[in-house]
Structures are given as structure tokens and as C-alpha cells.
């Protein structure tokens, strides 16, 4: 019977402390009944017979889990809210990290693009881990509270408030919104940060646009502000309406025009950026900047085309 004692002890080790004695006692009685019944049929039982019965009952951990099923970290009914909160918090942390890293990048004299990207990824990962752990801990605590069954049949919604059953693209994903927010935040910091930068730091920047181009960008940054406002509105609505599509087309068209206007203007590059001229001449730099701006203009232009098609199909 040593095997049975060892088996019951192994099951008890997997159980919560307050249930160990009771379940162990009952399990032991059930196994002994089963062995008695087997002994009535077969006569004296060997260790191998007992081991076969115990093996059939299952691993001690499995048996313990059958008596006390493991509780999920987060209650199933909280999962949609948990995922939504995670997306929202991580989505907000990303633009904030873009802001912080871009400011560090611009104020640093020895931070290259690769270090900027690593800094951005590392900083976001750091914040994301903290955010993930905090949100999970909060939902874990909520899940430990007794379940509110009345919430299952909640009535605080109206079928009339549901949005139209449109095509899949009409639902605006959080990822799209936060990517736009991060892009606009990046643009604003890049355009306006040099205004507050100390003169000696400004002089040591590796690439710098001409005063004329910078002046134009300051005016064009109004579009980035409008973009942030539109993204925040999308965050509230989460559904493309005709008006929102029209607004998005107008904004992207303005961005295309502004970018192409800037590409057509000259000079784009500050002629005092002497350190660059050791590798390229000014004409090459100007041409590269122009082509880069034309490529950048293609992104909002693509969105204009996409939204026009969507508008026509609505």
C-alpha cells in the first residue's frame, strides 16, 4: 500500500493547501475501494496490479487538476476588454516613445539613424513590458473578484446605436490610428525641435534643410496637427463615414501638394552643411532630396486613391 500512499501524496502536493487533507482522504478511500474490488476478483494483489490501477487513474497532476481545475489568469469574459486595453495603452506608448526618442536624437551630436531606431525599439519594448505587466496584474486582480452574473445579460446598449453593416475596411484598426499618430508626432518634433535648440547644437547637426524649406515646413506642420486631430477623432469613431473619408482625402491631398511643392522649391539643402559636401556635391544632394520628397508624396497619394475608390463604393 506504500504505492497508494505515495500516489495520494503526489496528488496532494499539486492541490491548494486548504484542500489537500480532504481530497487526499477521499481519494485514498476511493482507491482502496477499487483495489478491494479487484482483489475480490483476482485474489492477492501484487505491486504491479496496484501500479496498473494507479496508472489508469492518471498522472497525479492531472488528477489534482480534475479535482481543482486551474483558474485562468484572466477571466474569459474580461478577455475582449483586456485585449482592447492592451492595444490602447501600447498604441499610446508608441507615439510617446517616438516623441521622446526623436527629441533625444535631435539633441544628440553622435546619435546616428541606426542608434535612433535601436533606441526607439528598446525604449518602446521597455515601456511595453511595463504596460503589459501592469495591465495583466490589474485584470488578474479583477478576475479574482466574484463574478457578476448580471453583467452577462447587460442591457446598457441599444441595437439602434450599432454602426452600419458596411464592408470590412470601414472598421478603422487601432494599429492604423496609432501608426498615423506616431508619424505626425515625429514630423512635428523634427520640424519644430530646432526652433528651441541651442545655437551650437543646431550648428552641429549632420543634415539640415535650408531656411526657406524649414520656413515652408513650419507652415506645413499645420497639416500634421490636423492629422493628429483626425486620428484622435478616428479613435473615437472607429468607423469610416462619408464625411470622414472626405476629410481624409482632403488632408492627404494637402499633404501631397505640400510635399510636391517643397520638392519643386530650391534650395532644399542648407549650403553651409559643409560636412556633407565632402562626399556629395550640393547639386546631387538637392536632387536626392527632391526625389525623396516625391517618393514620400506617393504614400498620401496612394491613400487618396484608395479613399476615392472606397467613397465611390459606399
Amino acid at each position: 500500500m506504500d504505492l497508494v500512499t505515495r500516489y495520494v501524496a503526489a496528488v496532494q502536493r499539486e492541490l491548494p493547501e486548504n484542500k489537500r487533507d480532504e481530497i487526499g482522504r477521499e481519494l485514498s478511500a476511493n482507491i482502496m475501494d477499487q483495489l478491494d474490488s479487484l482483489a475480490d476478483q483476482q485474489g492477492r494483489l501484487t505491486e504491479a496490479d496496484i501500479a496498473a490501477v494507479l496508472k489508469q487513474m492518471g498522472r497525479p497532476r492531472t488528477v489534482a487538476q480534475q479535482f481543482v481545475p486551474p483558474q485562468p489568469l484572466i477571466r474569459l469574459s474580461y478577455m475582449p476588454l483586456y485585449q482592447y486595453t492592451l492595444y490602447m495603452v501600447l498604441g499610446i506608448l508608441f507615439p510617446l516613445q517616438v516623441l521622446e526618442t526623436t527629441m533625444t536624437w535631435l539633441s544628440s551630436t553622435d546619435m546616428g539613424l541606426v542608434r535612433y531606431l535601436f533606441g526607439l525599439a528598446g525604449g518602446f519594448l521597455n515601456d511595453a513590458i511595463f504596460g503589459f505587466a501592469s495591465i495583466t496584474a490589474a485584470f488578474w486582480l479583477m478576475s479574482r473578484q466574484p463574478a457578476d452574473h448580471s453583467a452577462a445579460c447587460n442591457t446598457d446598449w441599444q441595437p439602434m446605436q450599432l454602426p452600419d453593416a458596411g464592408p470590412g475596411w470601414q472598421h478603422i484598426s487601432l494599429q492604423d490610428i496609432f501608426t498615423d499618430l506616431a508619424t505626425y508626432a515625429f514630423l512635428l518634433v523634427v520640424i519644430w525641435y530646432p526652433v528651441w535648440m541651442p545655437a551650437e547644437q543646431l550648428a552641429s547637426l549632420r543634415f539640415i534643410v535650408s531656411d526657406q524649406a524649414h520656413q515652408f515646413l513650419k507652415w506645413a506642420s499645420l497639416l500634421a496637427v490636423l492629422g493628429i486631430a483626425a486620428s484622435l477623432w478616428q479613435l473615437r469613431q472607429r468607423f469610416w463615414s462619408r464625411q470622414m473619408l472626405l476629410g481624409n482625402i482632403a488632408l492627404n491631398l494637402a499633404l501631397v501638394i505640400a510635399t510636391l511643392t517643397l520638392a519643386a522649391s530650391s534650395p532644399l539643402i542648407n549650403t553651409e552643411a559643409a560636412q556633407w559636401q565632402a562626399v556629395f556635391n550640393l547639386e546631387q544632394l538637392e536632387r536626392s532630396a527632391m526625389f525623396t520628397l516625391i517618393v514620400i508624396a506617393m504614400f498620401p497619394l496612394w491613400e487618396v486613391g484608395r479613399d476615392v475608390i472606397r467613397l465611390r463604393n459606399m
Binding site: R25, L27, N30, D33, D36, M57, Q66, F67
Partner: protein, 115 residues
């Protein structure tokens, strides 16, 4: 349909019915092993890993009363339907009969159509 799919569906089908079978059997007091034998005798084969935790769960919900008794040189925990359990069994039995009648008629139609 694969054997795994069939096993899964059979398990789902039996899960709710087992509660009814256990409650109905515990009109008389039983300990774990004797209950399992009685169910087996009636054609309901249920493994100990399912039955023993199920009885404990029903007792925790107040549907069964339990007490430890000495017998044949060993202690055993006996379970019996509580008043609350008896009321619930009555309601579940009515529910089962209605469902069973409806299902029977549905299955008869399905059998006729396939023939």
C-alpha cells in the same frame, strides 16, 4: 468524421447528462466507488477522474449532503441528495423529458428522411 472528433462530441453530449445521472443515483446514499459501480450497472460508464471531482463539485454547490462513515474497517465518504439537490433534480428531470421528446421526434424525422 475522425475518431477524435466523435470522442469530443460524445464527451460534450454526456457532460450535462452525467450530472442528471449522478443526482438521480444519489437519492440513496453512496460512496464514490459504489456510485460508480451503480452507474456502470445501469449502462453509464464514467471514469473515476470525472466522477469523483463531479461529486465534490455538486456537494460544494449544496446539492449533495456528505458524511464520513466507518465500514468494513475503513472510512468512506457517503453522499446523498440534499433538499436543494432534490428540488433541482425534479426541475432537471422535467427539462430532460421535454428535451428528450423533442429530440426523439427530430431524430425520427431525420431517420425517415435518410431512408
Amino acid at each position: 468524421m475522425t475518431t477524435a472528433q466523435l470522442d469530443k462530441m460524445r464527451l460534450e453530449l454526456r457532460r450535462g447528462v452525467l450530472v442528471l445521472a449522478v443526482l438521480a443515483s444519489l437519492k440513496q446514499p453512496h460512496y464514490g466507488y459504489s456510485l460508480r459501480k451503480q452507474l456502470q450497472g445501469r449502462g453509464i460508464d464514467i471514469d473515476e477522474g470525472t466522477l469523483y471531482p463531479l461529486i465534490r463539485r455538486l456537494a460544494d454547490q449544496g446539492l449533495l449532503d456528505s458524511e464520513w462513515r466507518q465500514g468494513e474497517g475503513r472510512e468512506r465518504r457517503y453522499y446523498q441528495l440534499s433538499d436543494l439537490g432534490a428540488t433541482l433534480l425534479e426541475q432537471l428531470t422535467d427539462e430532460w423529458r421535454v428535451l428528450n421528446a423533442a429530440l426523439d421526434s427530430l431524430l425520427d424525422i431525420a431517420t425517415e428522411e435518410s431512408n
